[in-house]
């Protein structure tokens, strides 16, 4: 499906740009995006080193295992294909906790590490397992306690109480997470249509 989406994005972007007479804009944008990608990855490179290093310390101190035990019940429902004592359990637990705590710089690196662990359980197959899709979906919805960037922008825009949106943010996050979990559980049985 990503192949199809990519083609659609490139096709519609270029054709629209042409028809709207924005040839120069789209051509500048493509070149700029290459520079942007390198910048994003360089920024991430540091965060990636930092958090995978810190996590290795946490792992050796037995902290990751404790966290994974805490979430055991939830994991059995979400990731039924995961062997009980596989390191992937800990990696997922840590990654979801970082998301939840809003450790922005840590969330992506830890998520990538966890996805790699899940891929090992799946024998590094090029086809995603149900557990990998579930983990991807959970990361693609936002489970964040405090959306700090948004609060700062609200403050700058003159909000009387920037954090007044917290209850609605939490309710929406919970609803979208539930919808994602159910959608993944239902679609995994009839995957034919959605490839």
């Amino acid at each position: 499906m990503l192949n199809l989406i990519w083609v659609i994005m490139i096709f519609s972007g270029v054709v629209t740009g042409l028809l709207m007479g924005r040839t120069k804009e789209i051509s500048d944008a493509v070149l700029a995006s290459c520079v942007d990608s390198v910048q994003v990855v360089i920024t991430m490179l540091g965060a990636m080193c930092l958090w995978s290093g810190i996590m290795r310390v946490a792992e050796k101190a037995g902290l990751v295992n404790k966290l994974a035990k805490l979430l055991k019940g939830v994991f059995r429902f979400l990731f039924p294909g995961l062997p009980k004592d596989h390191p992937a359990n800990g990696a997922i637990a840590v990654s979801i906790s970082a998301d939840f705590l809003g450790l922005g710089s840590a969330a992506t690196p830890l998520g990538i590490m966890a996805m790699k662990e899940l891929s090992k359980v799946n024998n590094n197959s090029p086809v995603a397992s149900n557990d990998m899709v579930m983990f991807g979906v959970i990361n693609a919805v936002c489970i964040q306690m405090i959306p700090s960037t948004i609060l700062i922008i609200r403050q700058q825009a003159g909000a009387v109480d920037p954090s007044s949106i917290m209850p609605t943010v939490w309710i929406s996050s919970i609803m979208s997470t539930l919808a994602g979990i159910f959608a993944a559980k239902i679609l995994e049985k009839r995957q034919m249509f959605f490839r």
């Binding site: 499906m1 990503l2 994005m9 490139i10 519609s12 972007g13 629209t16 924005r22 944008a29 290459c34 990608s37 990855v41 991430m44 490179l45 080193c49 290093g53 810190i54 310390v57 946490a58 101190a61 037995g62 705590l101 450790l103 992506t108 690196p109 990538i112 996805m115 790699k116 891929s119 090029p126 995603a128 899709v133 991807g136 979906v137 693609a140 936002c142 964040q144 405090i146 959306p147 948004i150 922008i153 609200r154 825009a157 003159g158 009387v160 954090s163 007044s164 949106i165 609605t168 943010v169 929406s172 996050s173 609803m175 979208s176 994602g180 959608a183 679609l187 995994e188 959605f194 490839r195």
Partner: protein
């Protein structure tokens, strides 16, 4: 309080883990470097995926496609109670984090942070992710070619959350 938590969370977590590790007699610095090496190679593997995604996204943003799509779907969506001002964010949010954040910053100043539109936009931004960035990066790093139903399920989740935001802000 919230401000303190969000500022202190990163150094706090690092402090907690390193101190506990040291007390448990883990060779903390050696373990850190060992883990960090793995992190460095994983980050480089993400670069090609990143170039692919950001190129496609930048084309969409620069082409003016979002404006055209907005004028096409705002009529039908208004029947569902979706205000026309919210439509551009709905369209761009799953694709581009930076573009949606930029649009959000503009719009919230225009509509006011405490109005219905301002609160709805804030709720949408605070409770959703850039789906078509997160998924390719995660699956790309794990060398997965066939992501199966991941995109469909994530988009269903994302739009459920956004619709909930639009409705719930009318009452709260």
């Amino acid at each position: 309080m919230i401000d303190f938590i969000s500022k202190f969370s990163v150094p706090g977590v690092i402090f907690f883990i390193v101190v506990i590790g040291y007390l448990k007699k883990v060779p903390v610095f050696d373990a850190f470097v060992e883990g960090a090496k793995e992190g460095a190679s994983a980050a480089f593997e993400v670069l090609p995926v990143m170039v692919g995604i950001l190129t496609a996204v930048s084309l969409i943003n620069a082409s003016g496609l979002i404006d055209i799509l907005t004028s096409l779907v705002k009529g039908p969506l208004s029947l569902l109670g979706v205000p026309a001002e919210i439509v551009p964010i709905l369209l761009i949010r799953p694709f581009s984090g930076s573009a949606s954040l930029g649009l959000f910053t503009q719009q919230i100043k225009l509509f006011g942070a405490d109005t219905y539109l301002g609160r709805t936009l804030s709720t949408i931004m605070g409770s959703s992710e850039t789906v078509l960035y997160t998924l390719p990066v995660y699956f790309g790093a794990a060398n997965v070619k066939d992501t199966r139903h991941a995109v469909a399920a994530s988009l269903i989740a994302s739009y459920t959350g956004m619709l909930v935001s639009i409705y719930i802000c009318k009452f709260i």
